[in-house]
């Protein structure tokens, strides 16, 4: 099922469940501006807004990302993925990082969509739309709160961000999410994509780097019909 690279420390494998977090990079919320107070949103988000990247989206290092014929331009969603090591239920912020097995690079690919109200799952759940990098153990990463994230398209820097700009830090996010849903060993929680996300077309070679986690390389190719 998983096309991603080896994962050679506890819990010894990914579960195949990947959650993404919407609007958790300051730049992403700022990009919405006062729209958060207008219809259809009416007010800014309060609880973490999560979504599922289902198993058909999962891919690994070097795998091609299919670009659908009806959506020739895709967004590269570079983000940090937290790999869960122990069941996380109602964890406190101060203890949250103890439940983490490690971290990996996530490319949370989307079809660009202007409205966050009720987008079709066609925008995020297409085959191959979630390449994952190899995981790095928590102990080798240390503090996940200041990791630089860089996106290169065809070798040129296209975007950069940092986990220092998360509205909910990794431990705060784990605490707030685990208030209403338990995360299990091997689950991945992607912490949020910065705006503006670089857009690419078929033929683009995309490389995402995150400090201490190495790089994730994927080529975007026209979908085979």
């Amino acid at each position: 099922m998983l096309g991603c690279a080896a994962f050679d420390f506890a819990p010894f494998g990914l579960s195949g469940t990947v959650y993404g977090t919407l609007l958790n990079q300051r730049s992403a919320l700022v990009a919405l501006g006062d729209a958060v107070n207008q219809k259809p949103y009416l007010k800014p988000p309060r609880a973490p807004i999560l979504y599922v990247k289902p198993r058909n989206t999962l891919a690994g290092e070097g795998h091609a990302v299919p670009v659908p014929a009806d959506s020739p331009e895709l967004e590269v969603g570079a983000t940090l993925g937290v790999v869960i090591g122990r069941p996380v239920c109602r964890v406190s912020e101060t203890q949250a990082l103890d439940t983490v097995a490690g971290y990996l690079i996530v490319n949370d690919v989307s079809v660009p969509h202007a409205s966050y109200y009720r987008p079709s799952i066609r925008q995020k759940a297409r085959d191959g739309f979630c390449p994952l990098g190899a995981a790095t153990a928590r102990e080798s990463v240390g503090d996940p709160g200041a990791l630089g994230i860089r996106v290169f398209v065809d070798g040129k820097l296209a975007a950069s961000a940092s986990t220092a700009d998360l509205l909910r830090s990794v431990p705060r996010l784990l605490a707030d999410v685990s208030e209403f849903m338990t995360l299990s060993p091997g689950d991945v929680l992607a912490v949020g994509v910065a705006a503006p996300a670089p857009r690419v077309r078929a033929g683009a070679q995309v490389r995402i780097e995150i400090d201490k986690l190495g790089a994730l390389n994927n080529r975007f190719v026209a979908e085979q019909l």
């Binding site: 469940t17 919407l22 807004i49 999560l50 289902p54 109200y117 009720r118 799952i121 338990t182 299990s184």
Partner: protein, 255 residues
Amino acid sequence: MRARVAYSGAVHEAVPHALPDGRTGVRLTDGRVLAEEAVVWLPPFQVGTIIALGLNYADHAKELAFGAQEEPLAFLKGPGSLIGHRGQTRRPADATFMHYECELAVVIGSTAKKVPAVRAFEHVAGYCIANDYTIRDYLENYYRPNLRVKNRDGGTVLGPWFVPASAVPDPGNLNLSTSVNGRRTQSGNTRDLIFTIPYLIEYLSSFMSLSAGDVILTGTPEGVVNVAAGDEVVCEIDGLGRLINHIVADEVFGR
């Protein structure tokens, strides 16, 4: 039809079995016959991706004041929300409107990619009942319906049985209903689905490959009412059985 149950230290496949007192119990593969209450019921198959439909019955859409749709309102749920028959679902003390949703669950049996509607049933392994709980208090207007509403622990009840497609000749004409503490509160028929099972498989498989074990929760008809701690909620669908669930308060979970 078959179930997955835990009993006496192991997980077993089980089938319905008539008990001497006339009730229906279960028979484990190893021959043991037990009352329904003697085993722990698990979701009846290995569940992959969970795809749920919002507002897929015209009457329920009207109930919630939604207009006509161009495209199915599909959303995804995670495996952590799953529980089986006779399980407990927590009602948080601060919720004011928590409701069940009785739904026909369609279980995919083989990889489906860009499948036309006329061939859709070739990819259906079978069916079961789903009760897809919602807490409307937590609805926010971003990526609706957000997971705090729809992906809570114990909020997706599946079972009791996995029923093979061969035993369900017309899934497009099944009565479904819900009772709370013995009182009928919801009833409908799958003939009133806005987007039919073949349409949904064509639609979903046009952009995402479906695999064996993936499940489509096809939506709920009108008649959703608030439930309270202590309530017994029973969802029934013709030929698929009765799916029982109990609502419990925060205290049960040490909150």
